[in-house]
């Protein structure tokens, strides 16, 4: 896949994110357009150079990307709105990446934005009888995979609490995170029960905000970060995908699932392996998910992530820092923007611009997002 000589190298030339939080007075178009303007400044290019926009969001309704771009000014370029649940931002990124790699455009924009609606949210991710039975509870669906993980590998609630402690500690160093306060293991274990065994501090908070990224085949600054691969896998036949609320009610199950497949394709396409990666943004919408995500992505054997976490391997000072910006657990989870926010953090780290949470000299970073559907998106970036 990486050997096609005609394909162009793709770079992130500029990147920008808003703060993440609850902003009742801001619209998605105001947040999204602010992120675009900052990303253009960061890339040091004019708006007129952008040839296409790929816009990811989940709950923003019809032509939401057009409303954002409308604030900047229409220039006759195509605006493509994409929705793939919590991996929407990575899907927009993937389309932007492909459009340049395949030579269609030279410079494009990938954006993600979200403002969580208040009140009842219409769900199309579950059939109506499953909604009536109350199966659309995301912490509960994670709790099911958590139970299996505990049963199979002996992981404990203390292990899961440590994920929250690490990520909230990282988040305390991130001025854009929704939560910038560290928590203790005891605080996690004493927080309100949501869906046993998951408690409030095992679950990520929602958030509003936006992120924008300029991608190009002609980088004009040494701050540009190369996109080594960008992969989206939407579903593997027969896989139990609890985190997406899906039970495989079939007889034949695959030996490997959607996360493993997306990681394998991303590593193959990039020409690197897990051992080459210096920093990871794993999908931690629920704390336990980070542990099995690291394993499924191929960074360690199944069941061993809790021990490595205890040893500090995934800390900012460890050999494989994970969720350096605090992850979804601290940053918050703006559904359609989340995956691009992860990519943004990798870009910041590889540029050496991550401030107090900067990791020593990373060269390769990987971001992984899941989404209902199911979807699994892996992006590998290189300095």
């Amino acid at each position: 896949m990486s050997q096609n000589a005609k394909w162009k190298d793709v770079y992130v030339q500029g990147a920008s994110t808003t703060k993440w939080g609850f902003f009742p007075n801001d619209s998605t178009s105001s947040m999204g357009s602010a992120a675009i303007v900052d990303a253009l400044k960061d890339a040091q290019i004019k708006w007129g150079k952008v040839e296409a926009v790929f816009a990811g969001s989940v709950y923003q309704g019809t032509a939401s990307g057009h409303r954002v771009v409308g604030e900047i000014g229409f220039t006759g370029i195509p605006i493509v709105n994409v929705e793939s649940a919590c991996s929407s931002g990575a899907t927009a990124f993937r389309l932007a990446y492909d459009s340049i790699r395949l030579g269609q455009y030279e410079t494009v924009l990938a954006i993600g934005f979200e403002k969580m609606p208040r009140g009842p949210i219409p769900s199309t991710a579950f059939p109506s009888w499953q909604l009536a039975m109350g199966f659309n509870v995301q912490p509960a669906n994670y709790a099911l995979e958590t139970m299996e993980y505990m049963h199979q590998y002996g992981a404990t609630v203390e292990d899961f609490a440590r994920v929250s402690v690490k990520n909230r500690r990282n988040g305390s160093l991130n001025p854009n995170a929704r939560f910038q306060k560290a928590v203790s293991t005891e605080e996690v274990l004493q927080s309100a029960m949501i869906a046993s065994p998951l408690r409030l501090l095992n679950c990520c908070p929602l958030a509003d905000g936006a992120v924008a990224m300029v991608l190009t085949s002609k980088p004009e600054s040494n701050r540009a970060i190369r996109v080594a691969s960008s992969v989206l896998v939407s579903g593997v036949y027969g896989e139990e995908s609890y985190q997406s609320g899906i039970t495989a009610s079939v007889h034949h199950y695959p030996s490997k699932g959607i996360v493993e497949k997306s990681a394998r394709e991303a590593f193959e396409s990039a020409g690197y392996g897990p051992e080459d990666i210096d920093i990871v943004q794993a999908y931690d919408s629920m704390g336990p998910g980070e542990l099995w995500d690291i394993e499924k992505l191929g960074f360690c054997a199944r069941g061993t992530a809790p021990e490595l976490l205890r040893e500090g391997v995934f800390d900012l000072t460890g050999s494989l820092p994970v969720n350096t910006d605090g992850g979804l657990l601290s940053r918050g989870h703006p559904l359609g923007a989340t995956a691009l926010a992860q990519i943004h953090e990798i870009v910041s780290q590889l540029r050496g611009e991550a401030g107090q949470r900067q990791v020593a000299n990373p060269k390769l970073g990987l971001a992984h997002a899941m989404g209902a559907g199911p979807n699994s998106a892996v992006t590998i970036l290189q300095r």
Binding site: M133, G134, A140, A143, P197, S249, V250
Partner: protein, 147 residues
Amino acid sequence: MMKIERKAIPVMEGLWKVEADGKPYLIGSRCEACGEVFFPRKKLNFCMQCHEEYLEEIQFSGEGRVLALTKVERQPAGGFYKGAVPYTYGIVQLDEGVNICSQLVDDPVLSVGERVKMVVVKLYEEENNDVMTFKFTAENSLVRGEG
């Protein structure tokens, strides 16, 4: 005054049936080409595994074991769920080898690996109807199905 009769209606048609002796069973599909089995029954005659068109309706025994379970402490978002809170649901592996998502009657409390059987019970009341669902409960539970 006219007396309005309460009716028991299923949360969705076609998920289960009740035999003459009162024993309920779940309805699924099996592919005659590759042997794949699905729950719920697939309306479209198309096998998602082998992509052939040989699906037949089958019935499951309604017995299995708990693979995972969770107790939900808060009202689910969206207003779709009208049953009692807290409630317990989980993954039940039917004896036919199919994993399904099901609410669980957790009195007595269930644990992973435990044998369970299917019952049909009330999920919630709506106007003059009792909306019924299948659930799974401990094999030795005294919970009796209502329909």
